[in-house]
Chain length 215, copies 4
């Protein structure tokens, strides 16, 4: 693999600082983690967006959250066709092997993937409709959410679509037989969240109101 | 979506603490992030494993790394077939839209996905060979790495396979035309890393030795 | 400009080494910086002193900090009189155009400018009182700090004056209408630091105690 | 000063890493620097731009360069009027007190201050002509450079103005009697440089050709 390059110097420097402080001060825990393996209490499905740090928001230590991150925190419907399904594999591993108790889908404000979907579904991003567009085909998962958007101004509708990405993912999660079984057995609970980055807000999906309410 | 449940109390408590401290003290930065959008300098592809915190190792603040996490930090080969490809979508977005300068694949010790692959390829995990096994089909990406493992004891061979997951992902990245073009144009550089969780170690792939060396 | 001379050989040599290593290894990032322009997260006002390297202390890469350096890290009071005000221009650009989220004033131990001010205000440096002394007139900004020094030995009083240079600069920053507005709008936060060079110490100004505490 | 805020957590973390590695490994040198005071070999006047790290380009250790950074690396003409002149104070201190042997003015590509000057002088940035614009009044120093620009396309003319900011600063330096005296006594040499950020290039002003040539 001749294309690999050395790590940028500032990352090497910062790593050395981490090793000498955070790691050194907590070596016992890192060793325990290595020997015992992981026993996370929850799985989180969040966006790749660089502004979303679920471990920061929830003060999480190494070992607490099994975290899958993809564009727009989406879960595709169950489709066991023998192909590579990265997201489905993470869910199968978390529920079937790790037996996490919680599965949290975390959306956020200003999501670029959701915005792309919005423009694609509005007919304003033909390049995303191309069959070779990985982002476009991935955002197809959210297309049903666009159809159900309330009328109103664009900013409101985009925000509603961000929240729809959470609800649709929760619904698709229930299409996985092993998720449905675990939920019905009472050994797994699902949670939908949406993070307002600028205001530090957190809203949770409530089945009662079928809407999001501040945590 | 009637199955969603309220957030566990300990997470609500921690979130409220974060909002009153970390967020409150750094509100200006969160608002800037919300208004300006993200300008991450690097994309990181790491494992979902709860013990791997790339932002901690590299002292990264919100906004620095666009992070995709999947089982065993794998990148599948380029395959524009119009289907949902979550990992490929993240790469397309990071390279094409965000124009990150660095793309880092980060493997780690004790990877459960890699171990599953090892047992599957050794004939000891028939359940993973099933066409309906999402984990098995996802780990197929790493199968070529198993064929090339050196002889030796199991622990050594598993570790070699963890590192192969990094190298194969780097090779598959180069099969994406837009990644190859960006690398050749000198606007994107690829990096392969492997983190020893228990020892806090970090090794980087070196094309010169075709092996990993301590950072 | 006939007085310019060739660069000393040792600097040419070092530059060529940097180009062949640091730059070559990180070319993608330099190109990204050139194409995208800068998006620094913070502005730092520090002293010109050759011993103060804020990028080193904070593991900062190119692009992270917009840095103004002057004698004794001073900010003069707001004075829009149509004259050249280099420091005021940097603040206007950072807050108004770059919209940085943090503005950090960084003082340090053994500051020669502060020491000059101390002697000037003590009546022991008449040459600095001369109207043609640029250093003296610049250090006039810190004069109010001298008046408020506690009684005690000289070393303690000089150190207190170094810290006063940070606090007075923060106060003068608030005299700029656009700084005050941004702070009150919650999109800019101010921070005061003092670096002990010999001990590698870092202290932060705390409004609660109106003093400096170790970070 | 009630507006000061705690340091963002990521900076505290990085500082602690620096203290435990870079500082700890080189403590003797930091203590020597603190006890002996600074003896820099050169003064550098560079831009505040976050992408310009003169210590990186020249592999400089703590203690080597006395660094003044302002918008567009400008030196105003000598003007001993008893007012605060931050840049003039830095020059007086470096030449008169520290007795540096070299004085380097370092310009760079993509300079936002120079671009603002270009637009202001072209009549396209009336807000910068306002007497209360600190950036505009600071960039007045470069105005004579605009008048002498060659005809041609805008990109070429902006680059020429960036280089003019170096030459005009060198000329203004010679208007300071103590600079002129030191140069003529052969104890100070002046150098003009321009850094191409994206390409890692460095060009030096040559009095022979009255132009810039690659180092």
């Amino acid at each position: 693999m001749k294309y690999a390059r050395p790590l940028p110097a500032y990352l090497t420097t910062r790593y050395r600082g981490w090793k000498a402080t955070t790691y050194a001060e907590d070596k016992a825990w890192y060793r325990r983690l290595a020997e015992d393996g992981q026993h996370p209490r929850a799985m989180v499905i969040s966006c790749c967006d660089s502004r979303v740090h679920v471990t920061s928001i929830f003060g999480a230590d190494q070992g607490e959250f099994f975290i899958h991150r993809n564009i727009a925190n989406l879960v595709p419907p169950y489709s066991p066709d023998g192909k590579n399904h990265g997201t489905s594999a993470t869910i199968e591993y978390a529920v079937g092997t790790l037996k996490v108790a919680h599965l949290i889908v975390l959306g956020h404000s200003g999501c670029g993937g959701v915005e792309g979907c919005y423009h694609m579904c509005s007919g304003n991003a033909p390049e995303l409709e191309d069959s070779s567009s990985f982002v476009g085909r991935w955002m197809d998962i959210l297309r049903p959410g666009f159809e159900l958007l309330p009328k109103g101004d664009e900013a409101m509708r985009k925000r509603a679509l961000e929240k729809a990405s959470v609800v649709i993912s929760l619904e698709n999660l229930m299409s996985f037989p092993f998720v449905k079984q675990a939920v019905e057995d009472g050994v797994l609970s699902l949670h939908g969240l949406w993070n307002d980055i600028g205001e530090g807000g957190l809203e949770a999906y409530s089945p009662d109101t079928q809407g999001f309410v501040a945590v």
